[in-house]
Symmetry: C2
Subunit: 295 residues, 2 copies
């Protein structure tokens, strides 16, 4: 896909909705309530930042459509499951997500627990059943598992839980977000690229640097938005971090320095992409989107 | 390993303890509480029925040690995560498991949720990083994901939750257990076999028939034990099904017919293994163990 970024973004988002629907268990299969709740948790919402990253990186390396679709769906299912579990009463206890009732409010806690568990398994299934050559597919599965597990997203969430009410240093905050959000964003970029080909070491390093920058920028901007936007714009409860006494970039650095940091990270992301030339335009535009978004 | 079954069983169990420890995230790595809780959830407990099945099937096809160890650890981590989540207050609300405090009692609910989530990811990671040739490895990962997801274990758990206080037919009860327990037991057999080689269709069918029989037998015997044994022997709360008004084989068939069914399924399992001759002795002995166990 070429041309204007917003048109590309809308096209990927629309296609993802259909792709996710296709790769979720069919609604007419038992257990129907579980499958309905899985669809509720995944479809019709979200900015699809991770799928956009998969497609942007995949198109850079001429990945085929099925490989990109599966990688994007798998990463998004992992993300969606984490939101369902994070919203549960024992975790963040949130009633609102993407402007809709959270899964445990719409259904019940047992269903939310199982929806998350089943979505994680489904993510690995969707990726495993693709047409990518087996050795690359194994690398993609391994990377997704690392990004999702205790040295990635789950580990970051554990550190986040333990940090409520604690004074974190900037370094500790960065480490936490690197695991909690950064690992899966980087997996999105890497899986997209691997959907196209086996990467050279230099290509991996450049994409790693890009991913680190946008991962951190993503969280800095999240903190800025949590402190400055309202719930209706965000589609989730605003001001939650301050209310829960959670350390954030804004609480540690102040608003102005946080805005400056986000801009610096955007430029770092651009610099990392220099070796790829014009092919990386979408990845550059996504760095801009991540920093300039309003929700 | 050859010779006496109990010696073989003890050797595999002892080896699994070390294998699981090696394949879990190291205790000295952050986040330490999460990793400690993951070790607590997996180590020092359980009959290791699924690893025994992996090894019995693996040895039938001369699988190498690393391949069997990884398959066994992966299946056992999926099983262990499901116990952690099933014990949570929103699900079965159980305080005791394998004679120890459940994870959410020993730690807290948020930790239990993350322990389960991280163990599932770790299972796929351990399997993905093995030395089995890539195409067989992808088949193993795909099968594990199917067995764990909404058409397997999670789906069975969802049907089980919905069935509390409901009158199920024998067929519905069988379908529920087939997903909830049978799918992962069968995955253990299949992953063990695939750790050795790509199966012929006839071999797959025979192992499928064996797995179906032992899967069902496993649950019939569980129901018999829940109705007849005490909590100290079981290492978990006995009489729970009746207390929760859950349909069981004993409540539907009565105790005598349940005992007869278990014995018939044991014989079915033996019959299914006839094509494999003496090589399948361990699988035969495991069918006996599953039916004749006292806890």
């Amino acid at each position: 896909m070429s041309g204007d970024f917003s048109a590309w973004q809308r096209a990927v988002q629309a296609q993802m909705e259909q792709t996710l629907k296709n790769f979720l268990p069919a609604l007419e299969h038992e257990p129907k309530v579980l499958h309905e709740a899985m669809h509720y948790a995944v479809l019709d919402g979200g900015k699809r930042v991770r799928p956009l990253l998969v497609y942007a990186a995949g198109e850079l390396f001429d990945a085929n459509a099925d490989a990109m679709a599966r990688a994007a769906a798998a990463v998004e299912m992992i993300h969606a499951y984490s939101l369902v579990h994070d919203d549960m009463p024992c975790m963040d206890d949130d009633d609102l997500r993407r402007g809709k009732a959270t899964v445990h409010k719409k259904y019940d806690e047992a269903t939310a627990l199982l929806v998350g568990d089943a979505l994680q398994a489904q993510a690995f299934l969707v990726l495993a059943e693709g047409t990518v050559e087996a050795s690359r597919k194994v690398a993609m599965l391994s990377r997704l598992a690392q990004a999702a597990g205790s040295h990635g997203m789950c580990g970051g969430q554990a550190i986040d839980c333990a940090a409520v009410g604690q004074a974190l240093t900037l370094q500790e905050l960065e480490h936490m977000h690197n695991l909690k959000t950064g690992a899966l964003l980087e997996a999105a970029v890497m899986l997209g690229a691997w959907a196209g080909k086996t990467l050279l070491a230099a290509e991996s390093l450049a994409l790693h640097a890009y991913s680190q920058a946008i991962g951190l920028a993503f969280q800095v901007v999240d903190d800025i938005l949590d402190a400055t936007a309202d719930s209706a714009t965000l589609g989730k409860t605003a001001g939650k971090d301050a209310a829960h006494n959670k350390p954030t970039y804004v609480s540690l650095l102040g608003l102005d320095a946080s805005l400056a940091l986000a801009e610096k990270l955007r430029q770092d992301a651009h610099s990392a992409l220099l070796p790829f030339g014009d092919g990386a335009t979408r990845l550059r535009e996504l760095a801009d989107l991540i920093v300039q978004r309003k929700a």
